[in-house]
């Protein structure tokens, strides 16, 4: 769908714009990631509200995580999460082998150091969604080889 192209472009422009502004002003790189994450948080909260309006109540945490991996991810990124692992003690690892926001960038190790910038928004998105479903969480991302990420 054409909307996706628009969102991808807006997202990359946002990342570039924020970092450009940070370079010109004070050199506080960490702030940019926080800003992106908090933007993602707001969007995630709103989105999950509209999305789960008509769905049934979730049974437990695992159910919520499965919802995020399947329905939420499909709607936002047009595909499901490839792998979900958990230690049943509150830690979940979501693995996406072809992360939409990174596919356009590279297919390997090139530009690896820039990848985290593009994941900050999505981390915020997940954290916001979970927070509105009643789960407090910390979301981090890891990229070992584009376009896969965890």
């Amino acid at each position: 769908m054409a909307d996706e192209a628009l969102f991808l472009l807006l997202h990359s422009e946002m990342v570039a714009g924020l970092y450009r502004a940070a370079e010109q002003g004070e050199g506080e790189n960490g702030r940019c990631t926080t800003k992106l994450e908090s933007m993602g948080f707001r969007v995630g909260q709103g989105l999950i509200e509209r999305f789960t309006k008509d769905t049934a109540r979730f049974k437990d945490e695992l159910d919520i995580m499965k919802f995020i991996c399947k329905d939420f991810w499909t709607t936002v990124f047009k595909k499901q999460i490839d792998n979900l692992r958990t230690n049943h003690q509150g830690i979940y690892v979501l693995q996406d082998n072809k992360f939409r926001l990174l596919t356009q960038m590279s297919a390997g190790k090139q530009y690896l150091e820039h990848a985290p910038k593009y994941l900050a928004f999505t981390c915020g998105l997940i954290r916001g969604g979970l927070s509105n479903l009643g789960i407090k969480s910390i979301v981090t991302a890891e990229v070992s080889s584009m376009p896969a990420c965890e």
């Binding site: 769908m1 054409a2 909307d3 996706e4 192209a5 628009l6 969102f7 472009l9 807006l10 997202h11 422009e13 946002m14 570039a16 714009g17 924020l18 502004a21 800003k35 908090s38 933007m39 993602g40 707001r42 969007v43 709103g46 989105l47 509209r50 999305f51 499909t74 709607t75 936002v76 928004f121």
Partner: protein, 180 residues
């Protein structure tokens, strides 16, 4: 699968909402970073320009339209094909000058402001949708049509409709032809 048939519609709607919500978060962040409205407007315009420059490739690839032969055809194309494809709305086009290079797109429904009720009092001159102007300007420039794009009316500021004005700037080659 127990999915209802309306699910696909909903998914499209949610994708669009993702974009609208992200845009709102972006504007909110910019308002926090910059004090003056003009700075925020300029920033949105600049970002829109970069997006437009890339979006036009995507648009041409998806729509496979033929070359436009006149400014009015271009304006119609933007309104009827591009807006419909990316935002799901079709603004109406009207030509507002005798020379045929000034057009306005009138949007009675602007999806970008779906979740915005009103501008806060201290941000009265904020052009919330300034990104759109930048996008149109960037896209036109990539097809070698210089233009100035501004908001003539804005529903968020109390006008009846949202109106975007596109003024095509004459290319220097046109004047050369006229002399001959």
């Amino acid at each position: 699968m127990s999915r209802s048939p309306g699910r696909k519609q909903e998914n499209h709607k949610i994708s669009r909402e993702l974009f609208v919500l992200t845009y709102g978060a972006l504007v909110a962040q910019l308002c926090k970073d910059y004090e003056k409205d003009e700075d925020v407007n300029a920033c949105l315009d600049r970002m829109g320009y970069s997006i437009g420059v890339r979006l036009v490739d995507d648009f041409l690839a998806r729509s496979a339209v033929r070359k436009c032969r006149s400014y009015s055809e271009t304006a119609d194309m933007i309104a009827q094909v591009a807006f419909k494809m990316y935002l799901g709305v079709t603004p109406s086009v009207s030509c507002s000058s005798a020379t045929g290079n000034e057009f306005s797109l009138i949007l009675d429904k602007n999806p970008l402001v779906d979740f915005v009720e009103e501008l806060p009092a201290e941000r009265a001159s904020l052009c919330y949708c300034n990104l759109l102007c930048g996008v149109i300007r960037g896209a036109l420039e990539m097809v070698h049509l210089a233009a100035e794009v501004t908001f003539l009316q804005d529903r968020l500021k109390g006008d009846a409709v949202t109106e975007i004005g596109i003024t095509f700037l004459r290319k220097p080659e046109d004047r050369k032809h006229k002399r001959n």
